[in-house]
């Protein structure tokens, strides 16, 4: 028997405190932040930079560098230089790995990340056609037609005799022009960038000091992370959707059962999901990350939110445990679809992994569209309308089980849970 000390986790969002902090992350504000968060690139920072096999000059990044990769590099060169880190960009420009420069394992870690990326591309390609979430009315591209004036030919005036020469000098605002122009992203961070376009940044923090420095840097760039970043100093890693990045400690103090390679595989798999499909149900994100861990490393070492004894046999024992359970009962949506972030639930965790494995194995062709449906549903329903001019994401939102079931039934047919049960019994 081995013990995993309090494993503190943050994934896909900064959690409730940050959700509150982001209460004002309104539409207009996001635009303002985009402009305000430009992190100037300090010349001569000295961090080694590699792009695939090429070593790059940080002061003269090549023109052919993809814009998102360039933005990520420019954003993190100062921090990397200040902390003696190296930056390794994978050949496709989709992953930027930041690790201590003295760590000669960086190429191996990049190779491992490459395996995750290759498997992810194979298992979960982008949908051929992406669905678009319906805008809330305030953000609608075509504003609703104005009704005819109630006052007859022309509206009742606010000032029947006119304002005269009003002495207040600041003119009332003009109506905001409505535009459907695409978002132009030039800074690192999500900022409404289209899916599948950002460079994921993965930090391998050598020690607690580096980890805390990283959190501080993130909080300075993204003010809505400020409150969360203070609590996050107690974590051993995190995965964030906005900005799209993850980090883990290579050797967290006091945690006995820890395999940094599993951390990389698990967290990077989640980053890949976020990049391509946005926010998905917790069970699916965790399930897929474990699927990747077992597929590449043959065992599970990442147990988010878990603080209890872990049997040594458990790491590789999930397939047998699930198989055993579902010999006796049928898989039900309630076993896993209602599992929320923040608490480790062993049965739900194993069922999540098992069902995700079924999906990837047996329903692969339908998965991209289904995941896109889930994303759109979440985008449309996970909104909080604060006032007429603004709304924000409800970071705590989870798609209700009944709605998930409806979406899965629509995509996979009525008998999908029965088929999955048979898979778990016979093929897992």
């Amino acid at each position: 028997m081995k013990h995993v000390r309090a494993r503190r986790e943050a994934s896909a969002g900064p959690g409730p405190s940050a959700a509150r902090a982001r209460g004002l992350a309104r539409i207009a504000t996001v635009v303002a932040l985009t402009l305000a968060l430009a992190a100037p690139l300090a010349a001569g920072d000295g961090a080694p930079v590699h792009w695939g096999a090429r070593r790059l000059d940080p002061a003269a990044l090549p023109a052919e560098l993809p814009p998102a990769a360039r933005a990520a590099l420019e954003a993190w060169l100062p921090w990397a230089g200040a902390h003696a880190y190296r930056l390794d960009l994978d050949a496709s420009g989709r992953l930027l790995l930041a690790s201590r420069a003295s760590n000669d394992r960086a190429p191996a870690l990049l190779a491992l990340a490459g395996q995750v990326l290759a498997r992810f591309d194979e298992e979960l390609p982008a949908p051929a056609v992406r669905k678009a979430a319906q805008d809330p009315i305030l953000a609608a591209k075509a504003p609703p037609a104005k009704p005819a004036p109630a006052g007859g030919d022309k509206p009742l005036p606010e000032d029947p005799e006119g304002e005269g020469d009003h002495p207040w000098t600041l003119a009332p605002p003009k109506p905001a022009p409505v535009t459907s122009a695409p978002v132009v992203v030039t800074q690192w961070g999500s900022h409404g960038a289209p899916l599948d376009t950002q460079t994921m940044t993965l930090f391998v923090a050598t020690d607690q000091d580096d980890f805390e420095s990283l959190l501080k840097d993130l909080a300075a760039r993204f003010t809505y992370l400020e409150a969360w970043s203070k609590e996050a100093t107690a974590l051993q890693g995190f995965v964030l959707g906005d900005p799209l990045c993850a980090a883990y400690l290579e050797r967290p103090d006091g945690v006995e059962e820890w395999d940094p390679e599993h951390e990389l595989v698990n967290r990077f798999a989640r980053l890949c999901l976020l990049r391509r499909f946005g926010d998905l149900p917790n069970w699916l994100v965790q399930g897929y990350a474990w699927h990747m861990e077992i597929a590449l490393k043959g065992a599970v070492y990442c147990f988010p939110w878990r603080d209890e004894f872990v049997w040594a046999t458990e790491h590789a024992g999930w397939p047998a445990a699930v198989k055993d359970r579902y010999q006796k009962e049928r898989l039900a949506a309630g076993h896993f679809m209602g599992w929320k972030r923040g608490k480790y639930v062993d049965d739900a965790a194993k069922a999540s992994w098992a069902f995700t494995s079924y999906l990837v194995t047996r329903e692969r062709a339908r998965l991209p569209e289904l995941l896109d449906e889930l994303r759109v549903f979440r985008e449309e329903h996970g909104r909080i309308q604060d006032d007429p001019s603004s709304w924000r994401r409800n970071l705590e939102y989870e798609i209700p089980v009944a709605d998930q079931q409806a979406l899965f039934t629509k995509a996979l047919g009525d008998g999908y849970l029965q088929s999955a049960t048979l898979y778990l019994r016979q093929e897992l």
């Binding site: 504003p143 609703p144 509206p155 029947p160 003009k174």
Partner: protein, 482 residues
């Protein structure tokens, strides 16, 4: 019309009618009595119109007779002689069938045609007199007065006595409510008050940071007047403009709401040009405890509890100044009249009106989703209301036209955070009515509301009429506010 003509009702009815009219002058009318008197007056009107139609027939004024017959049909849809005169035929089942080809009518006797209008007026004069008598009896409920008055005015639209009986006054735009005339005059007074307040607002001058302001690690600048400081990361121009707005606000509120209440001498406004400055502000403001920071972070701006400090950290210059004016105005009203956000219609209504009057914007308001609109329509209404070109008074009139007027009883019981979009809209219009048309009653109303007096009663007292009457009155006032 033929020989029988339209007339021919029995004479005794007339005697009875006269007796009822005489009785009506001495006692208030019960509802059934009113209906009886109206029916009697109407019967008399029918007979008079029938007789007039007969006269038109006799004088070969067929077009004029047609108009009388149409009026008869409107008053009594089953009027057989009128239908026949208009070419209707009766089917076997008894239903009236309109003429397949509309009949053409002409007036032939030109001399009689010149006489016709006066004869028509003479025909309806008895009806008008009967209804006028009812109004003079002073025994009618407000809704009944309105109904009787409108019925009489249909036949005597220029009858000054009738208009006066209905409480109307003559104006350049015809007969209108007294409040319409009063509001026009009061708007000029308010405009003058705004101009004076802004002109007299002390000029703000650059000032050194105080010790507590220096504790906030932001690049702060400050301007000050003798009784106000405006500090922030916003531009010096914005700080000075904000100081002018807040200085004028106090003067304007004093004039509009008839109170000499002053803001505290140490009033300080913080304007943060970037929401990113908020964390440091919250962390280093001496009156904000760590456990309060999350609360403030979820807002766009706020008064700092326990101080005379106000801060706004969202939006652009207009948004920040509008927000500060609303915040400080709310603070001033709560000091002058103990009126808090729990009295939503007054807090929002007066706040929106006064803010717009002073700085021409109405950017700070919150509302719950509408109860009577679906989510899409509610958002569309919100979207319209935030458009600076949308006319809120016109939108308020639409509430009446579409039967979506919030019930006053429920409205006045709500806090500001409970108001729906429509209720915010209505509250703004109501405050406009009160400040323009009933300005003398406003201070007492605010006192009553602030002192916990029953709100519906306080409002009743201010407008001098019951809720149903007021809603009709209010709608008419809106329609006349041009």
């Amino acid at each position: 019309m033929g020989e029988a003509g339209i007339g021919g009702r029995s004479a005794p009815w007339r005697v009875t009618t006269s007796a009822l009219v005489a009785l009506a002058f001495v006692a208030p009318l019960r509802a059934d009595e009113l209906e009886l008197r109206l029916a009697t007056a109407r019967a008399e009107l029918l007979r008079a119109l029938e007789a007039h139609a007969d006269w038109c027939q006799a004088k070969r004024l067929f077009l004029a007779r047609k108009a009388v017959c149409e009026l008869l049909l409107e008053l009594e849809p089953e009027h057989a002689e009128a239908r026949k005169a208009l070419g209707f035929t009766r089917e076997k089942g008894g239903a009236w069938k309109p003429p397949e080809k509309p009949k053409t009518f002409r007036d032939f006797d030109k001399e009689a045609l010149g006489e016709e209008p006066a004869r028509f007026q003479a025909a309806v004069a008895g009806y008008v007199a009967s209804l006028t008598g009812m109004l003079e009896s002073d025994g009618l409920a407000p809704a009944e007065r309105e109904r009787v008055g409108r019925a009489a005015l249909r036949f005597a639209p220029d009858d000054a006595h009738l208009h006066e009986l209905l409480g109307e006054v003559a104006s350049d735009h015809g007969w209108v409510l007294p409040e319409t005339v009063q509001a026009r005059a009061q708007r000029a007074v308010l405009r003058e008050a705004v101009a004076r307040a802004l002109a007299e607002a002390p000029e703000a001058a650059p000032a050194a940071l105080t010790e507590r302001e220096r504790q906030i690690p932001l690049h702060l600048e400050a301007v000050a007047t003798p009784r106000l400081r405006v500090v922030g990361t916003a531009s010096p121009e914005e700080l000075a403009l904000c100081a002018r707005a807040v200085g004028a606000l106090e003067r304007f509120a004093q004039a509009a709401l008839a109170s000499q209440h002053h803001l505290p001498a140490e009033t300080t406004v913080f304007l943060l040009s970037d929401p990113g400055h908020l964390a440091k502000f919250l962390e280093h403001h001496p009156a904000i405890r760590p456990e309060q920071r999350a609360y403030y972070q979820a807002l766009e701006g706020a008064g700092i509890a326990g101080t005379a400090d106000f801060a706004f950290w969202s939006g652009d210059m207009q948004r920040r100044i509008d927000g500060i004016v609303r915040l400080v105005l709310g603070y001033w009203i709560s000091g002058a009249y103990q009126l808090q956000v729990d009295c939503g219609f007054a807090y929002e209504g007066f706040g929106l009106f006064l803010t717009r009057a002073l700085v021409r914007t109405r950017l700070t308001w919150l509302a719950q989703p509408s109860k009577s609109l679906d989510a899409g329509a509610d958002l569309a209404l919100r979207q319209r209301l935030i458009d600076p070109e949308t006319n809120w008074m016109d939108e308020a009139l639409r509430l009446f036209q579409e039967g979506r007027v919030p019930p006053l009883g429920a409205l006045v019981s709500k806090s500001a955070s409970e108001l729906s979009t429509e209720e915010v809209l209505y509250s703004n219009a109501l405050a406009t009515y009160l400040l323009e048309a009933r300005s003398a009653a406003v201070p007492r109303l605010l006192e009553r509301l602030g002192n916990g007096f029953a709100r519906t009663q306080a409002l009743h007292e201010a407008v001098g009429m019951d809720q149903d009457t007021f809603q009709r009155h209010f709608r008419r006032w809106l329609e006349e506010r041009r």
